[in-house]
């Protein structure tokens, strides 16, 4: 399998940077756009971003590593975010999360061997009155129980 870095198009990187450069505070929008385009933040983008924004690569690394959303390597085809916050805990969210991780044989941030699902913690999806809640991709699901979770995972693995 070719490394994901090998397929990165530097023209696309430059296009994304230049289309956001005139914003006030362009860095987060650039990082989000790059991650949308490539599925992760390719290291080839670091030098051109630093150059365009006149910041050091150390500063750029500092920003990327600060935020939970940004990642330097591809994730599974589906990212399952399970809410760990208090409202979800009050209706069994902790057990739901632990059982799901155990069933998949994963720890938080882990990806299944077939590359189908990455499981991430999230702290609140704003679905606190229909908890426990999860998000898969951009789709939110509330009142998740063990059966519902099985369906979510089998659909994602299909």
């Amino acid at each position: 399998m070719p490394s994901p870095e090998a397929t990165i198009d530097s023209v696309e990187i430059d296009r994304i940077i230049s289309s956001h450069i005139d914003l006030e505070g362009p860095l987060l929008p650039i990082l989000h756009a790059l991650q949308d385009a490539f599925g992760f933040l390719p290291s080839q983008a670091h030098a051109p971003i630093a150059e365009a924004l006149n910041i050091s690569r150390a500063e750029l690394h500092g920003v990327i590593s600060f935020y939970h959303d940004f990642h330097n390597a591809p994730k599974g085809r589906h990212v399952l975010k399970i809410c760990r916050a208090e409202a979800c805990q009050s209706v069994g969210g902790t057990a739901l999360a632990e059982n799901t991780l155990a069933k998949l044989g994963l720890d938080w941030h882990g990806t299944t061997a077939d590359g189908a699902v990455t499981v991430e913690p999230v702290y609140c999806l704003g679905l606190c009155a229909c908890a426990p809640a999860v998000m898969i991709g951009d789709k939110v699901i509330g009142r998740v129980d063990a059966t519902r979770m099985d369906t979510i995972i089998s659909e994602a693995s299909a």
């Binding site: 935020y67 959303d69 409202a87 009050s90 999806l125 229909c130």
Partner: protein, 506 residues
């Protein structure tokens, strides 16, 4: 046949989209013509998906609806029928000022918005000077709904008086507190009210540019807000000539990147500038040196979304609601282990017992209520013995509580309070920006200390209290400064769970 179904993410999370598909399919089968409009949610989340059918000009509710209910809803013989929605107890008992249109209108129809009082406030504001606008907000008594409760008008005055060619309005839509969803609900259900509020703020303080810093965990809200800004721009509500007034205001939606601490205003500003979301020391106040070092109003979504109704109905009308120094309405978010969860807007001063046991109907599990955490992960756990507390900023403070963003998470008697205290420290450790030592190191030590208590080491209890004192006094922002609140309130109100932790575990 006119039908509305919410497109709010809480409704979608429990199957609203599937219900819409089923309604369309059933209508086709029966040869009935239906017109389905997607709205925000009324806030009765336990009834979602809530289908509303217009009968003789009144909207009748059916919920919680499943796809299997579709045919019966169309036939008018569904056992999910609730009667006219406005007549439901939960709706009748509210004073919906900020949320008046949420669940009623099509969120992305500017005509619908205007037909329900939208833009009336802005039309009035364009004829006023910046000082008059600021004075109106002061007179309303509006205080920051994000948690701190700082008087909004005073903040606006500081920015108004600052002399700089470029000022900003920044809306804090980084609603990361568990148990809160009011910001999300209004952005998904009535986005133009936030746009109108930010525009009035811009006219008031002389800012021509606004940003909404919206958390990435809310993709639906981001989507709706972006579309709404686009529509407002095309309609001349935003732009170089706001409603033909000759005054300019424009705005953009910016997405956060999953850092809880960016809900703190100075950390948010750093993030917006493209930096690490670390907290800034104050002073200088953001009102004087905020975004890019320029004077900036940073207000919560609900604060800004309340501004239009203040200008539409007048400051005095708004100020006439409330209790003590908490004027106007509070948007309670009732969540967690509760039978009837959702959003309830009412005048400040309602009692906690009424909220949890009467409105909320007690726990979802049917077990006794043990505690309520008010104000998010940095708020206190209040036991049932404190349920006579009144919900106002000062009133709750006097009970050792924190109103915060007015979210409340209910727990039943199976809740493990030592576990919740440990989680508060763990969360602080995960989300600390790392700038100040009491928070960065203290939270890690806090987890370890609570683990010692769990092992039966009673010497660790005074250590925990001491650590909390240090975090409270020495942290730069509310994350480190208020994490001791949930921890120590759990220790104070549920001492047995800490002193007998080991026996309880065994």
């Amino acid at each position: 046949m006119k039908i509305t179904v919410p497109m709010d993410s809480a409704a979608k999370a429990v199957g609203a989209d599937e219900v819409v598909q089923a309604l369309l399919a059933a209508a086709k089968d029966k040869g009935i013509e239906v017109e389905i409009t997607r709205t925000g949610t009324r806030g009765m989340i336990w009834l979602e998906p809530l289908v509303e059918v217009e009968i003789d000009g009144l909207r009748h509710g059916f919920g919680p609806a499943t796809p299997e209910d579709a045919a019966a809803i169309l036939d008018g013989n569904s056992d999910k029928a609730l009667g006219p929605v406005e007549a439901l107890d939960w709706m009748k008992r509210q004073t919906r000022l900020t949320f008046a249109r949420v669940g009623v209108i099509d969120p992305l129809s500017l005509d619908d918005y205007k037909a329900h009082g939208g833009l009336a406030g802005l039309k009035r504001a364009v004829s006023m000077t910046g000082q008059e606008i600021t004075d109106e907000v002061k007179a309303s008594g509006l205080r920051g709904r994000g948690g701190a409760g700082f008087p909004t008008g005073i903040k606006w005055q500081t920015v108004h008086d600052a002399e700089e060619p470029q000022k900003y309005i920044v809306c804090n839509a980084d609603e990361g507190d568990s148990g809160t969803f009011a910001d999300r609900m209004i952005m998904e259900g009535d986005p133009f009210t936030l746009i109108e509020g930010m525009t009035i703020a811009g006219l008031g303080v002389g800012a021509t540019k606004g940003y909404v810093y919206l958390r990435s965990e809310y993709p639906d809200a981001i989507n709706v807000m972006r579309k709404a800004v686009d529509i407002a721009h095309k309609a001349g509500v935003l732009g170089a000539d706001v409603l033909g007034s000759g005054r300019a205001f424009d705005m953009e939606i910016r997405m956060g990147a999953g850092a809880y601490v960016c809900g703190e205003e100075t950390s948010l500003l750093n993030s917006l500038e493209g930096k690490r979301g670390v907290v800034r020391a104050k002073p200088p106040l953001p009102a004087l040196e905020g975004f890019l070092g320029r004077p900036t109003v940073v207000n919560n979504v609900i604060s800004l979304a309340t501004v239009p109704v203040i200008f539409e109905k007048g400051a005095q009308y708004y100020a006439d609601f409330g209790l003590g120094r908490s004027r106007g309405t509070v948007t309670l978010q009732i969540a967690g282990n509760v039978a009837r969860g959702g959003l309830f807007e009412t005048a400040f001063g309602i009692g906690l017992d009424e909220v949890v046991n009467d409105l909320g109907g007690g726990t979802l599990s049917g077990r006794p209520v043990k505690a309520v955490q008010i104000g998010g992960p940095l708020g206190s756990y209040l036991p049932v013995s404190k349920f006579d507390a009144k919900l106002g900023y000062e009133e709750l403070d006097s009970q050792g509580g924190l109103l915060g963003h007015a979210g409340m998470v209910v727990f039943d008697d199976t809740a493990n309070m030592l576990g919740m205290a440990r989680f508060a420290m763990e969360f602080c450790a995960v989300e600390s920006c790392g700038k100040c030592t009491p928070c960065r190191i203290g939270a890690v030590r806090g987890v370890e200390t609570i683990d010692r208590i769990a092992q039966g080491d009673m010497d660790a209890l005074p250590l925990l209290a001491d650590l909390c004192e240090t975090m409270k006094d020495g942290s730069l922002c509310a994350l480190g400064g208020f994490t001791p609140l949930p921890v120590m309130s759990a220790v104070t109100h549920f001492p047995d769970e800490f002193s007998n932790a080991k026996e309880a575990a065994e």
